[in-house]
């Protein structure tokens, strides 16, 4: 019974690198749209995380494709970068919110308060 089901699933198209690339592209585009359209800084930051994740997915998929580990190592660097970016971004956000009581990108249009 179980194996029969597996057979059915194996009949589906085998998953290749391009499948992952399409998913990554979709996530990347979603992230870009989020960054470009949302007003809430927190959500903008989260969209950036989406973009970084799309990049990571690409890197890991290519690393699988070429059989090396360089892509995976690089994706770890990207994660480190994402952590640093999130920490600093949210720090700025907190400082900003404390002074201005807003976190809308539209209203953050001066360099100094």
């Amino acid at each position: 019974m179980l194996s029969a089901k597996c057979q059915v699933l194996r009949l589906m198209v085998p998953v290749t690198t391009i499948h992952y690339l399409v998913v990554a592209a979709a996530l990347f585009v979603l992230g870009v749209i989020g960054v470009l359209t949302r007003r809430n800084v927190v959500i903008v930051l989260m969209s950036i995380e989406l973009i970084l994740n799309a990049v990571n997915l690409n890197l890991v998929a290519f690393s699988r494709m070429w059989g090396g580990l360089h892509g995976q190592v690089f994706s770890i660097f990207v994660v480190v970068d994402a952590a640093a970016e999130a920490a600093v971004g949210l720090g700025i956000l907190i400082a900003f919110f404390r002074n201005n009581e807003t976190i809308n990108v539209d209203e953050i249009d001066l360099l100094k308060w």
Binding site: A25, I33, V35, R38, N40, A82, A84, F97
Partner: protein
């Protein structure tokens, strides 16, 4: 171990990831966005597992879902967003943004469609069981030799240090 029902899990996980991504950029409430993002991140961790990258998947869960997202939730709770949630969510340039995004997608798709033959499986596949060790060797080196990425790794640690200092100074009461 050989994976079971690969296409099924691939479509499940990628569907979850994309649905989560959609929710991230459409939800009115930032907490809901964050939760959707967590779903996306976990789904991507699953995809990494399917790509035989267990270490990256583990890092993804620990650092992203367990660390960064908690930070996000923490900040969202600190800056109470009741007012923000009632306001207009998208800026005035949203059609432009949407257009840009869609054209980007079209670009990607056309590239993939044109270059289909480029993306095929090739190269020797490293056994999964040595994945972590190999990554470790690449990062730290082995038997007295410096690894390929040791220097970059040190720089990354410096980046983190700077980020910590920056975040602490930013979040201080009165700058």
């Amino acid at each position: 171990m050989t994976p079971v029902a690969t296409p099924f899990f691939f479509y499940l996980l990628s569907g979850l990831a994309i649905a989560g991504g959609l929710l991230v950029i459409t939800r009115r409430n930032a907490i809901h966005s964050a939760l959707a993002l967590i779903v996306t991140l976990l789904a991507i961790a699953g995809l990494y597992l399917m790509l035989y990258a267990p270490f990256v998947a583990g890092v993804q869960i620990i650092v992203y879902a367990g660390g960064i997202m908690v930070l996000f939730l923490f900040v969202i709770m600190l800056v109470s967003l009741e007012r923000t949630a009632k306001e207009r969510q998208f800026n005035r340039m949203w059609p432009v943004g949407l257009l840009a995004g869609c054209s980007l997608l079209a670009l990607f798709m056309s590239v993939y469609a044109k270059g289909k033959g480029l993306f095929v499986e090739r190269g020797p596949q490293l056994p999964e069981s040595e994945n972590t060790q190999q990554i470790g060797i690449m990062l730290y080196g082995e038997a007295g030799r410096m690894g390929q990425y040791t220097f970059a790794f040190e720089i990354a640690s410096l980046l983190l240090l700077v980020a910590i200092l920056g975040a602490v100074i930013m979040a201080k009461k009165r700058i």
